[in-house]
Amino acid sequence: MQALSNRKKVIEQKPMNFWERIYLPAIAKGLGITLKHFFKKIPTVKYPEETRPYSKNFRGQHSLKRDEEGRERCTACGLCALSCPAEAITMTSAERKKGEEHLYREEKYASVYEINMLRCIFCGLCEEACPKEAIYLDGPHVTAEYLRKDFIYGKDKLVEATFDIKKLNQEKSV
């Protein structure tokens, strides 16, 4: 039957000739392509050891910040939890006792602060809502775990390590 569009191509299957039938030239050709790639530049990086440059506004794991005296900035005001569209954040507040002034910046602090990383969508609204500049999504990717409960990050994982601001400044000037 005549094709309507005339774009149809009829493929003829010819029987293979002798050189094609022994396959050896085709194998040599294929191996040649593989060998050629040994000498080319590798386009991938070995991820955990090596990372690609990240965008400045990349949003990774949260960290709870400390102020210049090493005190926790978070006052458990609950605005991050309120703004969170995924409802990933929960917290319990406590009152600062006498003698804890070097640990917490304000008279109220979060005794428990948990983020469920399975719920979190890394939108950064908590960062935006925070009136105390206490939470930032400046960490790396959240790593994989085997159990769901391990994705609920507490203060042990979220609060950033103590640092000495003077030393930090010296390092920068050097």
Partner: protein, 336 residues
Amino acid sequence: MAEEKFRVTIDGIPVDVTPGTTILNAAREIGGDIVPPAMCYYSKLEGSGGKCRTCLVKVSKGSEKDPRPMPKLVASCRTTVMDGMEVQNITSPEVVEARKGVVEMLLINHPLDCPICDQAGECKLQDLSYEHGAEQTRYKFPRRTFERIDIGDKIQLHMNRCILCYRCVYVANQLTDQREHGIISRGDHAEISTFIEKALDNDFIGNVIDVCPVGALTDKTFRFKNRVWFTKPVDAHRDCPTCSGKVTLWYKGADVLRVTGRKDAYNEVEDFICNTCRFDTKQTQDWILEEPTKIDKDSVITANHYNSFNPPAVIEQDLVLQAANEEQLERTERLK
């Protein structure tokens, strides 16, 4: 004799009120946006008002007989209406500007520690400054600070946050038989205080918490327990020998975190409640629950509250999925 009525026009809306009504109450009879905000006036407390100046309005026509406008803005909570009076509230740029100034004045010594304050979310000063205030403070001097003190074992006084509205003083005067706190000193030094840290101890003294428009007087049993907007208000009542027993319970999960009086649209309680209801009965079995408290839909307290189960269209037909989702909702509500 037929009761005489005065016709007063507020922002172009006429209303007939009985002589002796204040402009503020006439506006409240109309309701809506044209009601001037009030920080110190409390309709249930005699003699309150006239302190904070947030309810300033412009009287553009004094009365039918004397149509001259009043020379200055007047405090609407203390000015009574005249027949044929015309009042401008939000339609007058002068009033809006003046109110902005008043808010700035009220905030001069206010610490703005809303992230810590238990009143945040239901604070009238917060609402007022959000609606009428300037974005930035121009005040560069140190704010006056006080140590917070416990007056009684259930009430805490943060003098820093006080705006000197005198409401708590009137409560103590009018509801209890002996007032033990008051305003000491004058002008910038004025502060609410008890005489040499005396404890406030009376059956109805807990109402100072409810009438306080800011977080200066707070419930110590609720202190830092939770944020207002994570709790669910439910109307309830109980058979109380001393008071009406009509309250709002603030739930978090299955626990009653605090008990307050029922507040109306102007943040005034309907009935003053006694200390037993407020502090000592925090179990569900003490109360007969009525219904969830109606909250303004713009209020932060309504955020993230899912009271009813609304399955999305996708699973509307699938009964197995519906049951599973209902179970999930129940579980998450319980965990809250």
